[in-house]
């Protein structure tokens, strides 16, 4: 086997591992909100520790990237792929971390019905899920246009956050009896908004992977 073939194979393994991590994060997202809907407390409690596995995946991919950098000293497209993978796993890990934080929050809130706090919640949950799905697929399939779609979808997520915040402020001014719940609901919205931001980053790293530019700034 020529060295380049081995390298090629290792890059493919790296891609597959990023894909697997992205799928694991998205499965976590789906299961989390399914458990919330079904009011399945046991399932929810299990998801509090979901991020441990994600961290292991992150470390494994980081170690692969550093090994590739050391042994293969990649350049050009290969270098962009390896460095983008290093960044993307951080964003995926952050998403996983926010999901675990949300699971903890939902357990504390006793599995609330989010739409009670704001009618925008179901839409925000769905659209955020779509955004990170697109971002992850864009990166793994090297689809710049889809990466851009994920980036563009973030304005909508921010709008949802603002609407939910306004609804919660209104509720608190009207009746302070569920102030704890309102604050937790606001935190939930903030976690979703942050997850959207990490999805945007992943979309941007896909564009970097192809062009060497991020946010129209040349990095490489």
């Amino acid at each position: 086997m020529s060295p380049r073939k081995l390298f090629e194979q290792e890059l493919e393994e790296l891609r597959q591992d990023v894909l697997q991590m992205a799928e694991w994060v998205q499965d976590g997202y789906d299961c989390l909100f399914a458990a919330l809907e079904k009011k399945d407390g046991d399932q929810m409690r299990r998801y509090v520790r979901h991020d441990r596995t994600i961290e292991d995946m992150q470390r494994n991919i980081e170690s692969q990237c550093l090994s590739l950098l050391t042994r293969q000293t990649p350049v050009a497209r290969d270098l962009r792929t390896v460095s983008a993978a290093l960044k993307v796993v951080t964003d995926l890990e952050r998403i996983g971390n926010h999901l675990s934080d949300m699971a903890e929050l939902f357990v504390r809130m006793d599995l609330p019905e989010l739409s009670r706090y704001s009618p925008a919640f179901p839409d925000m949950v769905r659209e955020t899920r779509t955004l990170i799905g697109k971002a992850a697929r864009a990166f793994v399939e090297r689809n710049m246009a889809m990466g851009q779609e994920a980036i563009d979808a973030d304005d909508g997520i921010d709008d949802f956050f603002n609407r939910i915040k306004e609804d919660l402020v209104k509720e608190l001014k009207k009746d302070g009896s569920d102030a704890d719940g309102c604050v937790d609901a606001l935190m939930t919205a903030k976690y979703l908004e942050k997850i959207g931001d990490h999805g945007v980053n992943i979309g941007q790293w896909e564009i970097f992977q192809e062009t060497g530019e991020i946010d129209e700034i040349r990095l490489l």
């Binding site: 380049r4 390298f7 000293t73 990649p74 497209r77 270098l79 962009r80 062009t211 060497g212 490489l220």
Partner: protein, 252 residues
């Protein structure tokens, strides 16, 4: 664009029927290191030798086009090639010290150019050896034979010998390919130093070396200059797919 030390336009070179360089156009900025990369036989060493007319010595060679050094065509019939090669020095792949003392190796060029004064020669020898980062290693044995030095020291001696005639441009043809990693590192650090005073053009097969030492990189393939750009661009996001394929090892 007067900051171009060397400006090459429409340069073609034939070895008999073999069209070895095809319409090369490139500018080399003063006080920079330019790396020339490409597979064996791509013309990069031939191109390097055009810059001080070393190809004139090859039978059946035909060159046309312009190579301007400080705005003056070095292929002009009136050009004195000895003076040209004083201005544009060269270091080769295999260290090639003369079979004489360290001191005499360095003093050889200045003596040919008419410097006889002993203290002036001492000064030139010391400065050249310092410039090539080898003075401290040889200062106590300047009268010892140069062939007794290690390969890495011999190569730095050859660089010192090139510096002794006060060149403006230094051409290096795979200067470290016969050296161990420590000697290679010393030469690479030296290149970084040398560009403050000279313009350096280096042919290398070592891609990482090109990435480490050069400000600009030119990629040659089958006698063509495919792409020349800032080194960060060549190794970060080359414009031409052939460059990308070559530097990432996807060739062939």
């Amino acid at each position: 664009m007067q900051d171009s030390k060397i400006s090459v336009s429409s340069l073609n070179l034939f070895y008999g029927e073999n069209h070895a360089l095809k319409d090369i156009n490139i500018k080399i900025r003063e006080n920079t290191v330019m790396a020339l990369i490409g597979p064996s036989g791509c013309g990069k060493s031939t191109f390097l030798k055009c810059l001080n007319r070393m190809n004139d010595l090859v039978d059946g060679v035909k060159v046309d086009g312009k190579v301007l050094l400080d705005g003056e065509d070095i292929y002009d019939p009136g050009v004195d090639t000895t003076l040209l090669r004083k201005k544009v020095g060269m270091v080769f792949q295999q260290p090639n010290p003369f079979p004489m003392s360290i001191y005499d190796n360095i003093a050889y060029g200045p003596r040919i150019h008419g410097i006889k004064n002993k203290s002036r020669l001492d000064e030139i020898v010391e400065n050249a050896l310092k410039g090539a980062a080898i003075f401290d290693e040889v200062k106590d044995r300047l009268k010892a034979p140069a062939l007794g030095l290690s390969g890495g020291q011999q190569q730095r001696l050859c660089i010192a010998r090139a510096l002794a005639v006060e060149p403006e441009v230094l051409l290096m043809d795979e200067p470290t390919s016969a050296l161990d990693p420590i000697s290679t590192l010393k030469i690479e650090e030296l290149m970084n130093d040398l560009k403050k005073r000279y313009t350096v053009v280096v042919v290398t097969h070592n891609m990482q070396q090109a990435a480490r030492v050069s400000d600009e990189t030119a990629f040659f393939l089958l006698g063509e200059l495919v792409e020349a750009d800032e080194t960060m661009n060549i190794f970060g996001h080359p414009k031409d797919k052939r460059t990308e394929d070559y530097i990432t090892g996807r060739f062939g």
